[in-house]
C-alpha cells in the first residue's frame, strides 16, 4: 500500500463556519465542522469516510474540492497545493476532480436534456473536441447502462437509479482521476443500490478511478472500500484498511458504531455497546477527546488531553486510532467505567 502513488494529500484541514450574531452581525462563534484532519488517498483505491450526521464527512469532501473555502490546511492533488491556486488555475484541476451527490434530482438541472447535462462539463473544460462530443455522450450513456436513445430526455423521465447513473455519467464526462461520491447510493432503494454499486466498481476497474466515498452505511462501505476513515465530531478517530477496521478495530467509537448496526444474522451473538446521549454540538466541542462525553472508557486524561492518531502493537501498518486507552482496552486491563 505504501509504495502506491499518493493522489490526494490532505494536511491539517480545518473548516470552521462562522456564526453571525449580535448587534452588528459580527462573528460570535464558529461551527468547527472539520477540525485539523489529515489523510492520504492513493491512486486507484477507494477510501471511505464514515461517521454519523454532523461528523464532518461531507464537509471534508466539499473542502477538498474547494466548494467551500477551507479555513486552514493544505490539500495537495497530484503534488500541487490546490488551496493556493487562483480561480482560473483551479478550474483546470476541476477536470480531474469530480463529485457525485446524494440526490441526483437536486443536483442535475431539470430543464436540461441528458445531452445538455453531459456536454456542459465538456464545454466548460474544453475536454473533448466539439465534433466528438455527441459520440462521447452516447458512449457515456452506454458506459453507465443507459440507452443512447434516451439522450434527449429530461431528468424527470428517469427513475431515481437512472438519474444517479446520469450523475455518474456527468462526473465521468471530463475523464477525471478522482471522484468524490457523497452518499451517492444512500437515497436509492436497495435493489437499485446494488446495481449502482456494481457500476461504480466496474467503472473504477475500467478507468482506473480513485474514489473518496462518503457514506454512513457501513455495509456498503465494507463492500466498496480499500481503506476507511471513521470520523467523529470533526476529527478522525480511526483510519485503517478494510479488514483491520471491521475485525481489529481499536477505537471505542468505531466499536460502538459497528455494534449499533442491526444485523440480519440471527445467530450472531452481539454485544451491543449502547452509547448514551447525543453527539455534542460542534460549536463548543468537548475538551480533550471529543468522544469522552459518551465513551464508556473515559477517564481524566480523556477529558483534558486530545489523543493523537497513532499505531501500536498488534495493529497493521497504516492502521491508526486516536484513543489514550487503546492498549489497555484491548488487553482487558481497562474496563468500561460506566456500564451502559
Amino acid at each position: 500500500m505504501n509504495n502506491q502513488k499518493v493522489l490526494l494529500k490532505v494536511d491539517d484541514l480545518k473548516q470552521y463556519f462562522p456564526i453571525k450574531g449580535g448587534f452588528f452581525g459580527r462573528t460570535v462563534n464558529h461551527v468547527k465542522a472539520v477540525d485539523d484532519i489529515s489523510f492520504e488517498v492513493y491512486e486507484g483505491e477507494t477510501l471511505s469516510i464514515v461517521g454519523e450526521s454532523g461528523c464532518g464527512k461531507s464537509t471534508t469532501g466539499r473542502a477538498v474540492l474547494r466548494l467551500d473555502e477551507p479555513t486552514d490546511g493544505k490539500v495537495e492533488f497530484d503534488g500541487t497545493n490546490i488551496l493556493e491556486l487562483n480561480k482560473k488555475e483551479m478550474n483546470k484541476f476541476r477536470k480531474d476532480m469530480q463529485i457525485i451527490f446524494q440526490d441526483p434530482y437536486a443536483s442535475i438541472n431539470p430543464r436540461h436534456t441528458v445531452r445538455q447535462i453531459l456536454t456542459e462539463a465538456m464545454e466548460i473544460q474544453n475536454a473533448v473536441p466539439k465534433h466528438e462530443r455527441n459520440d462521447r455522450v452516447k458512449e457515456l450513456m452506454e458506459t453507465v447502462g443507459l440507452g443512447a436513445h434516451q439522450i434527449d430526455r429530461h431528468p424527470h423521465e428517469f427513475s431515481g437509479g437512472q438519474r444517479q447513473r446520469i450523475g455518474i455519467a456527468r462526473a465521468l464526462s471530463v475523464d477525471p482521476k478522482l471522484i468524490i461520491a457523497d452518499e451517492a447510493v444512500s437515497a436509492l432503494d436497495v435493489s437499485i443500490q446494488a446495481q449502482v454499486i456494481n457500476l461504480l466498481k466496474k467503472l473504477q476497474r475500467e478507468f482506473k478511478l480513485t474514489y473518496l466515498f462518503i457514506s454512513h452505511d457501513l455495509g456498503v462501505v465494507r463492500h466498496i472500500s480499500d481503506r476507511i476513515i471513521v470520523m467523529y465530531l470533526g476529527k478522525v478517530v480511526e483510519i485503517a484498511d478494510k479488514k483491520s477496521l471491521f475485525t481489529n478495530n481499536m477505537h471505542p467509537y468505531t466499536k460502538a458504531l459497528l455494534s449499533a448496526i442491526p444485523s440480519t444474522d440471527l445467530e450472531a451473538k452481539k454485544e451491543r455497546i449502547t452509547l448514551k446521549g447525543d453527539v455534542p454540538s460542534p460549536i463548543d466541542p468537548p475538551e480533550g477527546c471529543r468522544f469522552h462525553t459518551r465513551c464508556p472508557f473515559a477517564t481524566d486524561i480523556c477529558r483534558t488531553k486530545v489523543p493523537e492518531l497513532r499505531n501500536t502493537e498488534g495493529m497493521k501498518d497504516g492502521h491508526r486510532a486516536a484513543c489514550h486507552h487503546m492498549e489497555a482496552i484491548r488487553s482487558g486491563e481497562h474496563q468500561p467505567t460506566v456500564n451502559a
Partner: protein, 348 residues
C-alpha cells in the same frame, strides 16, 4: 374504551383483501392491491418493501387517513374483531391516537413547531382521557421519563427545535404511547436517525412493547431492523404481499425470488461479498403499466410463461407461512429443481 363488549379475538389486527387506489383523470393506481395479514396480540409485524410497494399506504388505510384522490375500495380491517371500515368518522377519531397510534419517519415535520413538547403530549390526555391541565402535565412528565428523556420537568417546556433528532423521536413515541394503545404503527421510525441513536430507539420500542403488551406494525426497508425487532414479516411488492412468515423462516429460508434478491443485494457490515453484489435486474414497474401476471415476473430470473400471464395467489402452508409464487404450486411449468437461492450476478 369503546364501551361495547369486545368479541374475543386472537389477532389485534386482521387485514383482509384491502384495496386502496388513487384515481387520476384516466388512471387508477392500485397502491394497495388485495393485501391481507394478521398481527397476533402483543407481537411485532414488520412490513418490508421498496418505495412504491404500498407499505405506507397500507398503514394510512388502517387509520383511515387516505385523502382524495385516494380511496379505500374494499376489504376489511378488523381491529380487535371490529371492522374499522364500518366506523363513522367520529368513532375513528376516538380510536386514532388512543387505541391505535402512529409514529412517522420525520419527527420534525410531525411535531407542531409552535407548541411545547408538554402541550403536545398533554393534548392526547386531555382529549382522550378528559384530564385537567395539571393532571395532564403530570402524566406528560411521566411519559417523558418512560421514554428515557433526561430532566423531563425541564424538557416539557421546550419546543421541538430545541431537541435533537433522537430526542424528538422519543417525544413522538411518548405522544403515541400516551393513551396506552393496543396497536402502534411505526412508519420507518428510525430511518432518519443515526445508527447509534437508532439502536437506542429500537431498544426503547422493544422494551416498551413488552412492558405495555401492545402490537406493533413496523414499516421499514431495513432488513437488519426487521431481524432485531420483529416476530413476523410481510414482504410487499407492487401493492401485494408476496411473502409472509415468521422472522426465523424469512432469514433462514426465504422463498420468494424477490425476498431472496432483496437479501442478497444488501451488503452487510458483518459479511464480506466476493466480486459483484447480486442484483435484482431492472426496476419496479410503473403503476401505469403493471404486468398482468406476477408483478415481479419481468425482474424475476425464474419467470416462465405462466408467471408472465397469470397472477399467483397467496398460498398458506401448514406452518401458516404464506407465499405468492408459482414455483411453489402444482401448476409450476418451469424447472422442478429450481433453486431460488442461486440468482444471477449480472450488473445491468
Amino acid at each position: 374504551m369503546t364501551g361495547a363488549p369486545n368479541p374475543s379475538y386472537d389477532n389485534i389486527l386482521e387485514i383482509k383483501n384491502l384495496q386502496t387506489s388513487f384515481f387520476t383523470k384516466d388512471l387508477e393506481v392500485k397502491a394497495v392491491d388485495g393485501v391481507s395479514f394478521n398481527i397476533p396480540k402483543g407481537k411485532v409485524l414488520g412490513v418490508v418493501g421498496e418505495s412504491g410497494s404500498g407499505k405506507s399506504i397500507t398503514s394510512l388505510s388502517i387509520l383511515r387517513l387516505i385523502e382524495e384522490p385516494g380511496k379505500i375500495k374494499g376489504g376489511e380491517i378488523l381491529f380487535k374483531g371490529e371492522n374499522l371500515l364500518d366506523k363513522s368518522e367520529a368513532q375513528m377519531r376516538k380510536i386514532r391516537g388512543n387505541e391505535i397510534s402512529m409514529i412517522f419517519q420525520e419527527p420534525m415535520t410531525s411535531l407542531n413547531p409552535t407548541f411545547t413538547v408538554g402541550q403536545q403530549i398533554s393534548e392526547s390526555f386531555r382529549i382522550h382521557e378528559g384530564l385537567g391541565k395539571k393532571e395532564a402535565k403530570k402524566k406528560s412528565i411521566e411519559m417523558l421519563k418512560l421514554v428515557g428523556i433526561p430532566s423531563p420537568e425541564k424538557r416539557i417546556n421546550q419546543y421541538p427545535f430545541e431537541l435533537s433528532g433522537g430526542m424528538r423521536q422519543r417525544v413522538m413515541i411518548a405522544i403515541a404511547l400516551a393513551c396506552n394503545p393496543d396497536l402502534l404503527i411505526a412508519d420507518e421510525p428510525t430511518t432518519a436517525l443515526d445508527v447509534t441513536i437508532q439502536a437506542q430507539i429500537l431498544d426503547l420500542m422493544k422494551e416498551l412493547q413488552e412492558k405495555l403488551d401492545m402490537g406493533i406494525l413496523l414499516i421499514t426497508h431495513d432488513l437488519g431492523v426487521v431481524a432485531e425487532t420483529c416476530d413476523y414479516v410481510a414482504v410487499m411488492y407492487c401493492g401485494k404481499v408476496v411473502e409472509f412468515t415468521d422472522k426465523k423462516t424469512l432469514f433462514t429460508e426465504p422463498k420468494h425470488p424477490y425476498t431472496v434478491g432483496l437479501m442478497q443485494s444488501v451488503p452487510q457490515h458483518d459479511q464480506d461479498v466476493d466480486g459483484d453484489l447480486a442484483v435484482i435486474r431492472g426496476s419496479v414497474p410503473s403503476p401505469a403499466d403493471m404486468p398482468q401476471g406476477c408483478r415481479f415476473a419481468p425482474r424475476c430470473p425464474f419467470a416462465t410463461d405462466l408467471c408472465r400471464n397469470k397472477l399467483p395467489d397467496l398460498e398458506t402452508d401448514e406452518e401458516g407461512n404464506q407465499i405468492r409464487c408459482w414455483i411453489y404450486s402444482d401448476e409450476w411449468d418451469g424447472d422442478p429443481e429450481v433453486n431460488v437461492h442461486e440468482q444471477s450476478k449480472s450488473t445491468s
